[in-house]
Symmetry: C2
Subunit: 284 residues, 2 copies
């Protein structure tokens, strides 16, 4: 997906958010934003892909701000909140494979929810479970998993990874033949999960953890390491979570990829031709 007209203001707003989280010093924030104004023309061009180009911009800002992980605290809060919510849901719901898939999509909303009451989040998630997926290719996904040897699972945000773990537990049980690889970013970028976050959440219990080889959102192959590229090639099925992975990997037109996401923003919804806010499990 190439940048839409709304992506510029979103990039700038997120850059501002990063500068606010990185420092309380108003002068440093201003210096960072003065630099953003000079840099942004490089990253918002005709052919820019929002997740990739915004990541490159953010990494420049992190250097300017002298803070390599402005979202550190935000991510910790998301993780502990999601962990608790998933534990509670496991006790109160009967969770089958399809429910776990929907939870993995609904779990994507947790990055909005820092500071919320966990019980309110649980309520929101349960009401999302009652919604239908706007595009539902889950039968195709499950049939593909049935015939597959290798699954590559691309994670998205902190918090959400606890929902991914739940889904992967069900997948592992249902398709025991699968060799499962779970990928996360090679280092901190906005609130995306890193390999360290996956370890902390115990994802190694359900698959082999691998790095995408870069800190760029959306696992672009041109920034990946050799191991990731090899596994991406070997995979029979790829499950790609969230908007960032969609923005980058939709460019490949690769029918092994199933995108599981909530179309949070207008550009992604427009690209997919679905109403904003829709939950989707879609093969392009």
């Amino acid at each position: 997906m190439k940048v839409h007209y709304e992506c510029l203001s979103c990039m700038i707003t997120q850059a501002q958010k990063a500068s606010e989280l990185a420092t309380k010093d108003i002068k440093k924030r201003r210096e960072a934003m003065l630099n953003v104004a000079q840099l942004v023309g490089k990253y918002y061009r005709e052919e820019s892909i929002p997740a990739i180009d915004a990541s490159l911009l953010f990494l420049e800002i992190y250097k300017l701000l002298n803070n390599d992980d402005p979202f550190k605290n935000y991510k910790e809060v998301s993780n502990s909140l999601a962990k608790r919510v998933v534990e509670d849901l496991k006790m109160t719901l009967h969770i089958d494979l399809k429910t776990a898939l929907k939870l993995a999509i609904a779990g994507n909303l947790i990055d909005f929810a820092v500071g919320y009451d966990p019980q309110k989040i649980e309520g929101d998630i349960i009401s999302l479970l009652n919604e239908n997926l706007y595009i539902d290719h889950s039968d195709e996904l499950f049939s593909a998993l049935n015939n597959a040897s290798v699954l590559l699972y691309l994670t998205d945000n902190c918090g959400e990874i606890y929902f991914d773990k739940l889904f992967l537990e069900k997948i592992k049980k249902e398709y025991p033949q699968l060799e499962i690889y779970i990928a996360a970013k090679d280092g901190a970028i906005i609130n995306d999960a890193t390999i360290e976050d996956l370890k902390e959440a115990g994802l190694q219990e359900v698959g082999k953890l691998i790095s995408t080889g870069s800190r760029i959102v959306g696992a672009p192959l041109e920034y990946a390491n050799e191991e990731f590229k090899r596994i991406f090639e070997r995979a029979d099925v790829v499950i790609a979570k969230g908007q960032g992975n969609f923005e980058v990997l939709s460019e490949l037109k690769d029918d092994r990829i199933f995108f599981l996401l909530k179309a949070k923003c207008a550009p992604v919804a427009r690209e997919l031709n679905v109403p904003q806010g829709s939950m989707l499990c879609t093969r392009l």
Copy 2:
């Protein structure tokens, strides 16, 4: 006031808003925003003044969008709504000079209120009247007006001008010796009032209408015409409405100027050292 760290995202968001209002064509909006990304580094620099530099950026976008007045409809709605609200308030309230001053400040919120129920706006305005001004130099203003021969009144937004008219009627009655000049922009820029808007609202009944000589928000003297500069120099008192006029004219440190505004955004509130949302009548 020089740009604060939040001004970049605000400039971009307003540019996006202008492109949305200017055309329904997604491709044209995208083309405009691609240009904004290349241009913004020129207008968000160390010494930039938000109202001036954002105006210069917007005028470039208007050209790109081939629409010289994207806010035309928005302004018309604001004007007719404000006109009605002021007529109603005149019938229901006893309005003295001080109340009219507060209404002129409260009227600044009307640009948020397009599409709102007029009765809800009236309620909001009446509750604003019950708030104290956070900085209140109105006694100094009235005493200065008492001793003045020439008043220059700098308007701000459409809609709000109907509240300005009410305030100016009271000033004219209270200080009949005053020669009153009322300035507006020389052409369309965001939702600011133009000379045409002032005529439409009948402001010529309470003073002589003059152009600031440019379409730049905030009446910067370096963009003004000779007539405006002459009257600005002759004025004994200047009443400057809204954030834009504050951003530009606060640079002059000129104690003839009284700023009447609601500190809507964090940067203006920070600059004035007041809580965001405060209503002010202040001489610097």
